[in-house]
């Protein structure tokens, strides 16, 4: 890595052009900001909404129950978030300091270092952090004076904690968004539900775009018989209404979060494949691809090192819409009762509790989770529209 700080006039890259165009709209930036806030909430959920205090003094000794009660998953999420944020800052620093020709190599090295640290860290955390069940009622302890100096998180309720005495309470000062039919705090469950929605959106779309890119690249590059067979497969996948296909698979497979992510992923790759196929058709006959072929590069390199970076733009837009779609499908599945099991909060499943078995309409149980789904889906859709406008060369002003 050579850092040449004296010459910074490298011109604007394609990415920078897109970013300039994208960030010229205040709405786009607001949506991006909203999604960043959502991610922050998802990562810090146990610190925002938890019935364990951050600090408490019991019998003259300081305790930190919240940190003790965090699971290995919580720590893994934190680790992943820290690595993600670090990567973003490293890339930004590189774009100022490193020569554009060296940038991809540097970037790959950083990504591969993180790709080693992350799984290793997660495995270590899963092994070394024991599952502690802390059933102490710290609030009762503070109330009757056994403990002092307690600092609770902003929403002092646990998402799995039931409180039958306070069930079906409308929003009030104690429970800002009310309580559900077992007395859990709606706001707290909403905050923890962010994790499910965002992770489903990301993992499902990750799976679908990897499948779609590989299929589309092979179809577009080879054409002919392979393309014909691939198109028939796509036709079959697209003929069955996606939601029916998904619930058919859900019916036969065990219901877990991971399965739902995989099912959404393997059923929604068709549009990615079609976009990439169309791009690769155009690229196949261009000089740089012909040069790469005549140099005898391995197929993997031709497809993914040389062609893919030039044809990825439409997929990027599709990915953003795909995240919105996956979040919607997950909520719909949970709404119908085919999603994650009840103690784990999910927006769709909370939404379905609004009309009780007696026909009573508990509006706060439906309204707030629905609003959360709506805002998230809208933000991703707006982001997709903004990105499409920024990437579409027809609309870009002459620079």
């Amino acid at each position: 890595m050579k850092a040449s700080t004296d010459n910074k006039n490298w011109g604007t890259s394609y990415g920078q052009l897109v970013w300039q165009q994208f960030s010229s709209s205040r709405l786009n930036k607001a949506c991006l900001g909203f999604i960043i806030v959502l991610f922050t909430v998802a990562v810090l959920a146990p610190f925002i909404a938890n019935d364990k205090p951050l600090v408490i003094r019991i019998g003259g000794k300081l305790h930190f129950p919240l940190f003790g009660a965090l699971t290995a998953n919580d720590y893994s999420v934190l680790l992943a978030a820290i690595i993600g944020v670090t990567l973003v800052f490293l890339f930004r620093r590189d774009s100022l300091r490193v020569d554009p020709f060296l940038r991809p190599a540097v970037m790959w090295r950083q990504i591969s270092i993180c790709a080693i640290i992350l799984p290793a860290g997660i495995i270590l955390l899963q092994v070394f952090i024991p599952r502690r069940l802390d059933a102490t009622d710290y609030k009762a302890m503070t109330a009757d004076g056994r403990a002092t100096n307690a600092i609770f998180p902003a929403v002092p309720y646990g998402y799995g904690r039931t409180d039958i005495k306070n069930y079906q309470q409308p929003p009030s000062g104690r429970h800002w968004l009310g309580t559900d039919d077992v007395g859990s705090d709606v706001l707290c469950r909403l905050i923890h539900g962010t994790r499910i929605s965002l992770s489903v959106g990301f993992v499902a779309v990750g799976i679908s775009s990897v499948i779609g890119i590989i299929f589309g690249a092979i179809m577009g590059y080879f054409g002919g018989k392979i393309d014909f067979l691939g198109m028939r497969l796509l036709e079959i996948m697209m003929a069955v209404p996606t939601f029916f296909l998904i619930i058919t698979i859900v019916a036969f497979f065990p219901r877990s979060l991971l399965n739902i992510m995989i099912i959404i992923g393997i059923t929604s790759w068709t549009s990615d494949a079609r976009f990439i196929r169309a791009e690769f058709f155009k690229l196949r006959n261009q000089d740089f691809v012909q040069a790469a072929i005549s140099l005898g590069l391995p197929l993997r390199n031709i497809l993914f090192r040389h062609m893919l970076p030039n044809g990825i733009a439409p997929v990027l837009v599709n990915v953003t819409f795909g995240v919105a779609g996956a979040i919607f499908i997950e909520s719909a599945l949970s709404f119908l009762g085919f999603g994650v099991a009840p103690p784990t909060p999910s927006w769709g499943q909370m939404l379905s509790a609004g009309v009780s078995t007696t026909g009573q309409f508990l509006w706060w149980l439906s309204f707030f989770p629905g609003l959360a789904i709506f805002f998230t889906v809208t933000a991703y859709n707006l982001l997709g529209e903004g990105l499409r406008d920024a990437i579409d060369p027809k609309l870009r002003k002459a620079v």
Partner: protein
Amino acid sequence: MTTYIIRRILLMIPTMLGITIMVFAISRIAPGDPVSLSMGPGGQLDAQRAADVRKARMALYGLDKPIHVQYAIWLKRVVKLDFGDSIKHHRPVIDLIAERLPVTITLNLISIVIIYVISIPLGILTAVRQGKFSDRASSVVLFMLWSLPSMWVGQMLIGYFCGPTFKHWFPPAGLSSNYADALPFFSWLADRLWHLALPVVCLSYSGFAYLTKQVRAGMLDNLRADYVRTARAKGLDNWTVIFRHAFRNSIIPVITIMATLLPAMIGGSVIIESIFSIPGMGRLAFEAITTRDYNVVMAVATTAGFLGLIGLLLADIAYAIADPRISFEKIE
């Protein structure tokens, strides 16, 4: 034209075969087989007898044969429209589908007609008024409608308009009132429409927003084109230019959108029918999954695939009629 349609229908056969392979594969890849499910842990039997019983049952259900033979047997029955019996209803699955399918098709047809009737004029209007306040306001509203989750809208509508808690303007469930069969025709129709109003609203608003956006975009492209300027320069009046020239040319994408709209709506009817307890195919699928009625699940998936294919076929035919440039002799 006829040859085109016949050829198009013949092309559907391999795709339909592919759909049956996919449905069959899903049911067989899944962990656990029906025999282990029906036998349970089998505590009393000793190992030898359990194995024997297992073998006998496998033979009974034809599960001991190789997978492609099993598929052939299943396909032979499917072609004869025999999907087996429903475990929950103790009736042939095909009867259930025949009962439920018309409901879903009616619901979707009404919604599609409403979508097209409203969004085409609205799309033209907003395109003509591009940049004015009414255009910008409507595009914000349409965008929000497009992103609204249908289960939320359904739940809120039921809660506010069909329940004891707020207003009781609409019935919360079903297709008709208990006494509906005794009513004269027009009262019966009114009763049916009263029951269908909210589900149709839920099913159509998102497609309506999407189509309006597409009509607007297509119109804008054409209104900017040179031939429109020529038409105006000729001295034609504004609405003639818009309808005879610009709209005619932007109608083709409007038709092809049906091919994407229809599968989405059929999929969406699972949610809508479950919320409003409408005895259609979506609700049948929902009930079948909750009761693990696998014969019904497979039948519904196959039928849904068939419906999707029909939708694609209709869109293709409409496309061929609308665009005179398409030659009926060649298929790309």
